[in-house]
């Protein structure tokens, strides 16, 4: 029993790391540009499929590096052409636009790669369990946790140590002032969108290795990321990270006792948070 719970907690952490990775990208875009990117799941799927396509040419590691970058490039183009005209308008419109984009991405991946689940081969040594007792500890899972950790640390370093990151954080607080100080806000928003989509692409490549690839993978993973953001608190990236891990573990533990409620439990968690603390765990007072 202990082992089962441990397994599910660990599994939950991995899933939670996924949610967090995706939610961090969503959160970045939301905080700076006020756009709820519904197509984030679509970009995740795109990242996964691009990794699949690249693998024969570049190998696993090359695909892992290139696929998120290519996804981010698509994201930059999408932001420049479609999302940019909608800044400053009712958030309804950007929501609807990314919604349509999500449809296109899901249907597009289905059209190109078919509706079935495609296997995604990862290096063999990664799939064998590291220890007989803890059968669930495969190299790939550990690697994933490691990679997500590195990505998150990298993101926070960028945000806290680089000029771009500081501008993003400043813009989140007061975009107008940042603009008045001579920063090109258009470029800033564009790059910020790109970073967000990069994280989605990375999550996609990783998700492909763990869950296999199917066109609906994005729409399955996007709702929990929304919940992660709400639980963590809008405007706080640390909160988003925390929210992601929390709901991952919560649904993992629930899966032990009451498997059919493992999806619903995160919404219960969200309801409790909203009831007790409407701004989310680490959200700022009065920001939304």
């Amino acid at each position: 029993m202990t082992q089962l719970i441990l397994f599910n907690v660990f599994n939950g952490l991995i899933i939670g790391a996924f949610y967090a990775l995706m939610a961090l990208g969503l959160s970045l875009i939301l905080n700076l540009s006020g756009v709820i990117n519904f197509a984030h799941g679509g970009f995740l799927a795109l990242g996964g499929y691009l990794a699949l396509v690249l693998m024969p040419y570049t190998g696993f590691w090359g695909a892992l590096v290139l696929a998120p970058l290519l996804t981010a490039a698509v994201g930059l183009v999408v932001e420049r052409t479609l999302v940019r005209p909608l800044y400053g308008r009712d958030p309804l419109y950007s929501l609807l636009l990314t919604f349509g984009l999500a449809f296109i991405l899901e249907d597009g991946t289905r059209f190109i790669w078919g509706p079935g689940t495609l296997p995604f081969s990862i290096p063999g040594w990664m799939t064998t369990p590291l220890s007989g007792k803890f059968f669930f500890l495969t190299g790939f899972r550990l690697f994933m946790v490691l990679l997500v950790t590195v990505a998150v640390i990298g993101l926070f370093l960028i945000l806290n140590r680089t000029r771009l990151g500081m501008r993003i954080r400043a813009g989140t607080l007061d975009l107008e002032t940042v603009s008045a100080l001579g920063v090109n806000v258009r470029v800033l928003r564009n790059l910020n969108f790109g970073i967000g989509i990069y994280l989605a692409g990375l999550a996609g490549a990783l998700a492909a290795g763990m869950l296999g690839l199917q066109p609906t993978i994005g729409s399955e993973l996007i709702m929990p990321s929304f919940v992660a953001i709400i639980i963590g608190g809008l405007g706080s990236l640390t909160g988003t990270l925390l929210g992601g891990l929390l709901i991952g573990v919560a649904s993992g533990v629930t899966a032990v006792f009451f498997p059919s409620a493992s999806e619903a439990v995160i919404y219960v968690l969200m309801a409790i948070v909203l009831l007790v603390r409407p701004r989310g765990l680490l959200g700022e007072e009065g920001r939304f």
Partner: protein, 316 residues
């Protein structure tokens, strides 16, 4: 618009709605499409009660629509073979869920509100999806039929007669539309408009803003549940996708496409959207992509909607 031309437009609209089964046949379509338009228009109009008239961005109306659908389906399948009771259960379920969830989210605004409504919308989807032995899971709830409605003096045979189903839906649509129009003209409705225009000012005037938004939310979701119940009756089937976020998005695009700031806009939007979806799904397997492109085109080039554009062109 002048009062006279408004009356003409209204007369024309109702004439078109009442004769819809006939002219749909004439243009080579089928009457069921008309019923679907009227039902989805009701859902879109009830959403617009919030979206266009209270200024509250809900992106999760499919949940209440779907609750109406599953309510009527489950009741007819497991409890009582009575269409009216089934509808009452479905609408009641939508109302209760809206009242509870509304109380949780009423303090939130803007995109935060939108996100939370999206997220909450998914709860019921997962319940319907996972509770296999009761709801049929992913396959949907089938194995039941709508039944003729007995009203004491008369029986409306909505099962055997497609037209009876259409006119029942139309009657409920008309009733709901009249109620919403009355509400919007009442002091309550004017208060909602005031909140939409300037919430802070409304608050300073002593209006309990949160309570008004909560009431508008519950009213709107309840009418969405009515539409959902009718939709399940029409299809003799409740689909878990009725509860999903893509359905919510469809309602929003209907409202935007027709014109959010006008009362009848969502009806026009629903007619265009349903006809387009129906046509595309017979033409191509990739209709989802086309719908997606359509969303993007509407947002970028047609954000005011049909009636918004007409109203702007005609001098007031």
């Amino acid at each position: 618009m002048a009062r006279g031309s408004k009356l003409v437009a209204a007369a024309f609209l109702w004439l078109a709605l009442i004769t819809m089964p006939d002219w749909l046949n004439l243009i080579g379509s089928y009457p069921q499409l008309g019923t679907r338009i009227v039902i989805l228009a009701l859902a879109a109009m009830s959403l617009n009660f919030l979206l266009g008239f209270t200024g509250t961005l809900s992106f999760g109306h499919a949940a209440y629509f779907g609750l109406g659908a599953y309510g009527v389906g489950l009741t007819l399948k497991y409890l009582v073979p009575n269409t009216l009771i089934g509808m009452a259960v479905g609408v009641g379920a939508g109302l209760v869920a809206a009242a509870i969830i509304g109380a949780l989210i009423v303090r939130l605004r803007g995109i935060y509100f939108a996100m939370v409504t999206i997220a909450f919308g998914q709860v019921f989807y997962f319940i319907a999806y996972r509770w296999n032995n009761v709801t049929g899971g992913d396959d949907g709830l089938s194995g039941w039929n709508r039944l003729p409605i007995h009203l004491g003096i008369a029986t409306i045979d909505i099962l055997g007669n497609e037209r009876a189903m259409y006119y029942t839906a139309l009657a409920l649509f008309a009733l709901a539309a009249a109620l919403m129009a009355l509400l919007l003209r009442s002091p309550f409705g004017r208060t909602l408009l005031a909140i939409r225009e300037n919430e802070r000012r409304a608050r300073f005037l002593g209006i309990p803003v949160d309570r008004h938004i909560w009431m508008a939310w519950v009213i709107s979701c309840t009418f969405a549940a009515v539409a959902g119940a009718l939709y399940a009756l029409l299809n003799n089937f409740a689909d878990p996708h009725d509860l999903r976020w893509d359905q919510s998005g469809d309602f929003v695009i209907m409202a935007v496409l027709g014109g959010m700031r006008s009362f009848w806009g969502p009806l026009i939007g629903a007619a265009i959207f349903v006809a387009l979806q129906d046509y595309l799904s017979t033409q191509t397997e990739n209709w989802m992509s086309f719908i997606g492109v359509f969303f993007i085109l509407v947002v970028l080039f047609f954000p005011r909607g049909v009636l918004g554009v007409i109203r702007r062109r005609s001098p007031t």
